[in-house]
């Protein structure tokens, strides 16, 4: 085939591809993303403590309360950050090998009633109250109340210093390892953790070097988190905005040179 004909067909193909609606492109990873959401929905508890508890490892001193949600069950009962949970509703957290599952069982099987044994600075505490009824994210399966968060749909407005980003976690769960640029989520508040893919062509060599060095040491700490309020039938395009005035050495060290942004909201019905 002559060269000019090949060029002509290539150009035509490119035009047709670009003109196709963004929502028509269904990423290959979507089923995996849906599976993730389904798994997320099914594993959510009906009751919560209203606190962040470190249940990663068994500890004979109990599970550490890392933070208390203002106005939540733990806050109402008087728990404080720094306290240690010894038992909930008779389930011991100081002698279990799996504090995560023990806490989950303890919270769910009492119909929301809580009897907590804790310790504060070595002194025992006995607290009681009612658990928080959690908002279930199971609505992600309902087309009428779900939306999308995506990172590669549309044309990122680089002229406004906005570049591609990647969503690494949604509501504390890791996103699939395989490329999936669009995630279906239930309507409501969601916590995203995002990493930036800022085009190095917009940075000088010293900045590229400093950013690479910072990322090497910070690893996942170089990501950023924010809360997004997803409305039903909407798709939110997430990107990373380069802050040109924060490209000095200290700002790069502090990971302050970029911020996650929702650069576009488009209507997109859930099938």
């Amino acid at each position: 085939m002559p060269l000019h004909s090949r060029i002509a067909w290539l150009l035509l193909g490119t035009c047709l591809y670009m003109a196709a609606p963004a929502h028509a492109a269904q990423p290959a990873g979507l089923p995996a993303a849906s599976a993730l959401q389904a798994a997320a929905s099914s594993s959510l508890a009906r009751y919560g403590l209203g606190a962040v508890v470190d249940v990663r490892q068994a500890n004979p001193n109990g599970a550490a309360v890392l933070a208390v949600t203002p106005g939540g069950a733990a806050d109402r009962m008087g728990l404080q950050a720094g306290d240690r949970l010894l038992a909930i509703n008779g389930h011991r957290l100081d002698s279990t090998s799996k504090p995560s599952s023990t806490l989950e069982v303890a919270l769910q099987e009492s119909n929301g009633e809580l009897q907590v044994e804790a310790s504060r600075d070595g002194r025992p505490l006995a607290l009681s109250g009612r658990a928080d009824a959690l908002r279930l994210a199971a609505t992600s399966g309902n087309p009428a109340s779900c939306g999308y968060v995506s990172t590669r749909a549309g044309v990122v407005p680089r002229t406004q210093q906005i570049f591609h980003a990647d969503i690494t976690q949604i509501d504390g769960r890791s996103t699939p390892l395989e490329p999936s640029y669009r995630h279906r989520v239930g309507a409501g508040k969601h916590v995203l953790v995002v990493r930036e893919f800022i085009d190095p062509n917009y940075l000088n060599s010293a900045q590229i070097h400093q950013i690479a060095k910072m990322k090497k040491f910070a690893f996942a700490r170089a990501y950023k988190s924010f809360v997004i309020d997803v409305k039903p039938g909407m798709s939110y395009r997430i990107g990373a905005r380069l802050l040109k005035d924060k490209l000095d050495t200290q700002s790069i060290r502090d990971n302050a040179y970029w911020e996650p942004v929702v650069w576009q909201e488009v209507a997109e019905a859930c099938p």
Binding site: A19, V52, T69, P157
Partner: protein, 136 residues
């Protein structure tokens, strides 16, 4: 002008052939090749113009959308406004953090959520809500 006589014509035919210069055929070939190249370039250019004309109706909505987007204000993430929003965001963050701890996430993985939580906490007055400094 009168026709040459048959005799003259025969005499002309009888004349010996003149040897042509060696470079003549090369010049003729090169001229022919240039002519062909010009034709190909012209044909290619015409094809591109044709494709561009055909693709214009397809590209117009895309270009219009892009131009419109340039003028649209971006919805950059901003911290929640008002105590109710902050409380809802904190609730979502704490749930996400607990889910991360439940699955055994590393300190580095949960760190961005703690940073976001600290940023939100500046608008909350409850001292019990403050996380321990040695959490990470």
């Amino acid at each position: 002008m009168t026709e040459p006589s048959t005799q003259v014509r025969n005499e002309l035919h009888a004349l010996p052939g003149i040897p042509l210069p060696e470079a003549l055929w090369q010049r003729v070939d090169s001229g022919r090749r240039q002519k062909m190249r010009r034709r190909k370039i012209l044909a290619g250019f015409a094809s591109l113009v044709l494709v561009a004309v055909m693709a214009t109706p397809l590209l117009v909505p895309l270009l219009a959308d892009f131009a419109g987007r340039q003028g649209e204000p971006l919805v950059a993430y901003q911290p929640a406004n008002g105590p109710h929003d902050i409380q809802a965001d904190l609730h979502a963050l704490d749930q996400a953090l607990q889910v991360a701890y439940d699955r055994g996430a590393s300190d580095a993985e949960v760190a961005p959520m703690w940073v976001a939580r600290e940023a939100l906490l500046t608008g909350v007055q409850s001292p019990r809500a403050a996380p321990r400094r040695n959490r990470i």
